[in-house]
């Protein structure tokens, strides 16, 4: 490849010390000019470490070795301070995940965006301001002359991410590294950012290395992708082939575990937790979770455990050597990759969930609920603004029904959820929860009827208490299972698929998925009839999301629960819910069954949300490839 802007060979990143952990274990990356390459993986896969190695932006306690590492013609391994500074922010731009955390809050956005230019060449203040307005306008920020003088807190998340992209591209770099560029954003904003990245790439013809856990983003944005697991590349190839014909069981499992809202196909969870550098098993790192392996004869299974598979070109059956009719460009690190070609695609219909009788008695009635927040000046106490968070919302939740509450951030869906669990009181209107005999539930009984699962599994458990105490305190509060609380804790943990010995651990010793299960177990301890789930999957890895989806569906069937699922991810909503309520600026704009909303949306806002849904079919992109990029590559 003559126009390569990034060539990485045999990259290894290890922790220093007596027992080094291999965070990245022999990774090759190639990015050409004008090309977009994705590094995909779950948490602990080493994808971020690998990408940061390109600019040697690594923590002090790790060491980097590589057979070769060259970015935009510079040997990064041999580069000294000035040469590295020339790369960082100069010929290589970086886009980070959390724009709020990556802007200095006390400097105007415009000044920060042009800083990569200003530190390299003398520039008058006037010229700097002019450039700032120009680049901010270029990334689609309205009224850039005014906004470039504003501070980061005055920008919305999406606008700040645009500004970050402007900052990364202001020196017209040849290589851009984008670390989870859309993760912190709403679905509709994600599409806009993808569109912007594609447009700008076609202008400056840079190579992009995008790091993400989101297969939808890969399908939407990337030309080629490498799937990482536990520090190694499992499979690499062109995105179209990768998704249409995965050659590694892990790639296939990831695709299968991703909820697919467009088709409504069912999810299939990968058992277990993703391996981390500390827990990586010998042989093929994926073997304990591999479905392909369990189908193999014992000798083959032993090979998966003993021998590390090398990343190799997979010879397709029916073709001999390289003269075959369907040459594969994919490389896979699996001993039995050829077997994957004969595996049928998983297109399971929706699980056997029977939607509840639409005329069943409602458990929750929400009638004309409104809530406004008044912001006051801390200085004078005067009103500075009024936000109508929820505006005259009414709906009912039937017994055994699952209702999805969807909308962008700021649409009021979380406020509505908080009112349903009585964390805040509505200004007008009322939320009535009904007991089995349809009488309204009050007082302590309310807490035993409606429970809440928070979106942040890392923050929702008191870090000072063991799992046993966290669950026991709930049982004690309601005088439940007195005398057999230990048994009840074990039972509740079993209900959410956790082993009993986990009870003695502290929250920080658990993974995100395990914590979310504990949070669900705690909510179930009071034997509620309704669970309000506030973005329960958004902080979890793809394979863990599918596990929790499966769990939520099983609990609903076993315990007769009703769910209110608050989510901005329409793919997730479709896999769980019976009905969907779409919220926009505090109002309910459309309510309907899942099939109606997804297949026959009525309201234009619903249509916008649906069109922003990223799916894993690279042939069907929400943002069509612009003609400039496609000709440049062909």
């Amino acid at each position: 490849m003559t126009d390569a802007v990034l060539t990485v060979r045999e990259l290894r990143v290890r922790t220093r010390g007596d027992a080094p952990l291999a965070l990245v274990d022999g990774v090759d990356i190639d990015v050409g000019l004008g090309e977009t390459v994705a590094l995909v993986g779950e948490s602990g896969s080493g994808k971020t470490m690998a990408a940061r190695s390109v600019l040697r932006l690594l923590p002090a306690n790790v060491e980097l070795t590589a057979g070769g590492l060259s970015a935009v013609g510079t040997d990064v391994l041999a580069a000294d301070g000035p040469a590295l500074r020339g790369l960082r922010g100069g010929r290589v731009g970086m886009i980070f995940q959390d724009p709020m955390a990556n802007f200095n809050p006390v400097l105007p956005v415009g000044r920060q965006v042009t800083e990569p230019v200003r530190i390299r060449q003398r520039m008058s203040k006037r010229a700097g301001d002019k450039l700032a307005a120009e680049v901010l306008g270029h990334v689609g920020i309205p009224d850039p002359e005014r906004r470039c003088r504003e501070y980061p807190h005055q920008f919305s998340g999406g606008m700040l991410q645009r500004a970050m992209i402007a900052m990364a591209l202001v020196n017209r770099p040849s290589l851009v590294i984008a670390d989870e560029p859309t993760t912190a954003l709403d679905a509709t904003l994600q599409v806009k950012i993808v569109k912007l990245l594609r447009l700008l790439q076609s202008e400056i013809n840079a190579g992009i290395l995008v790091i993400t856990h989101d297969l939808g983003l890969v399908a939407e944005l990337a030309d080629r992708a490498s799937v990482m697991y536990a520090g190694r590349i499992m499979e690499t190839g062109r995105v179209g082939e990768l998704f249409a014909r995965p050659l590694h069981p892990y790639t296939r499992a990831l695709l299968d575990s991703r909820p697919e809202g467009r088709t409504g196909a069912d999810v299939r969870a990968i058992p277990g937790e993703p391996a981390t550098p500390a827990t990586r098993p010998g042989g093929c790192a994926f073997h304990p979770r591999c479905r392909l392996r369990v189908e193999r004869p014992a000798a083959d299974q032993a090979r998966c455990v003993d021998e590390v598979p090398v990343l190799r070109l997979v010879a397709l059956p029916g073709t001999t050597g390289t003269t075959g009719s369907t040459p594969s460009s994919s490389l896979a690190a699996c001993h039995f990759a050829t077997e994957m070609l004969t595996v049928g695609h998983l297109a399971q219909p929706r699980a056997d969930h029977v939607p509840p009788d639409p005329d069943s008695a409602p458990v929750v009635t929400v009638a004309g609920v409104s809530k406004r927040f008044v912001t006051k000046s801390a200085w004078s106490g005067r009103r500075t603004g009024v936000t109508q968070a929820v505006d005259d919302v009414s709906f009912t939740l039937g017994h055994g029904e699952s209702l999805g509450l969807v909308g962008e951030s700021g649409s009021g869906k979380s406020t509505l959820g908080r009112m349903m669990v009585r964390l805040i009181e509505p200004d007008t209107g009322g939320i009535t929860v009904h007991a089995q005999d349809a009488s309204p539930v009050t007082g302590q009984q309310f807490r035993r009827t409606v429970q809440w699962v928070h979106q942040d599994p890392y923050g929702s458990l008191n870090p000072k208490m063991t799992i046993r105490r966290l669950i026991t305190e709930v049982l004690a509060r309601y005088r439940l299972a007195s005398g057999s609380r230990a048994a009840r804790v074990t039972e509740l943990l079993g209900l959410v698929g956790l082993p009993p010995d986990l009870a003695e651990r502290y929250p920080h010793q658990l993974s995100g998925g395990q914590r979310q299960r504990v949070a669900i177990a705690r909510a179930l301890a009071v034997e509620p009839r309704v669970l309000v789930l506030d973005e329960p999957l958004s902080a979890l890895d793809v394979s863990i999301q599918a596990q929790v989806i499966t769990l939520l569906r099983r609990l609903r069937a076993d315990l007769g629960l009703s769910y209110v699922l608050i989510s901005h991810d329409l793919n997730v909503v479709r896999t769980i819910c019976d009905r969907v309520a779409v919220m926009c600026e505090g109002r309910l704009v459309e309510v309907g069954t899942v099939d109606d909303i997804y297949d026959r949306p009525q309201h234009p806002y619903t249509k916008t949300l649906l069109s922003a849904m990223l799916n894993v079919d690279p042939e069907d992109r929400a943002v069509p490839a612009s003609p400039v990029t496609s000709t440049a590559r062909s």
Binding site: R252, A269, I270, P271, G272, E273, T279, P288, R291, L292, V294, E295, E339, T342, V343, G344, L346, Q348, V421, R422, L423, Q444, R447, Q451, W452, H454, D456, G459, S460, L461, N462, P463, K464, M465, E473, V474, R477, G497, L498, P499, D501, L502, E504, R505, Y506, H508, Q509, G513, Q514, A519, R522, V526, A546, Q547, T550, L551, R554
Partner: protein, 301 residues
Amino acid sequence: MAVDLTSAGVPEPDTHDLVRPRARLRAGWVGSFRASTRGMIGLGLLALIVLACLVGPVLSAHDPQVVDPVARLAPPSGSHWLGTDQFGRDVLTRMLDGGRASLLVAAAVTTISVVIGAFLGLISAMYAKVDGPVMRFLDALMAFPSVLLAIALMARLGPSIGNVIAALSLVAIPGFARLVRSSALVVKSTPYMELARVLDLRLPTLMVRYLLANSMSPLILAATFGAASVILAEAALSFLGAGLPTSVPTWGSMLNDGQTYLRNAWWLAVAPGAILSLLLLSLNMIGDALRDAFDPRSERI
């Protein structure tokens, strides 16, 4: 050979066999503290100092109060290990004897001010209605220079060890209250506090196991430093004649006496200064170990 993965029966995601048993289960914060070398050294040092102060004066050949004009300002020697002061009194005996009052005042003031301060901080964080009045009252207390306030109180109450403890506690309370309030306010906005409200946990649980337990680290650190500054504050009071009766030796009053003779009798100031430093060192080591013991996250795996 075709494998149909769609029918491969992996029924339910099973995390059981992938969960590794933790090597060591914690035995509460006491066990965690005892496992800390630093904490145990600090505790040993503190015990040594306390023991010396309790037993030392009894075993000593000298009386802390007996004046010996002949042996005035004698340097350290075989009969006076740490020399004598300007009245010929044995410095070592006085230092150990004075430690009783200093340690008692420091322990009592720290305990009282931490308990009352933490309580005020917790209820201020918990109830917005209490917050304003309590905090404004404490602000008013803080507005006075602390020594001035203590002197004013002592002038009103008269010199006695109980009054010194009362005056210094009152001065120290606002700092602890503010500290606990600010950490408790942070804890109050966490998701687990919101969940506790949805679960309708009882008020004492919320206050102690949630707000207080998660505000412990800064409080412990502040308390260890606070104990040290109490000894110095007591010294300042004694120096100004508003502290303990002059007949009672304390480390603070010895330090103050010693600085007059620093040029020709350095041991007068160095002896109480050294033991005070040792005490601070032991308190800081204990404080660090306690903070780690209360935080399960700091456990080494």
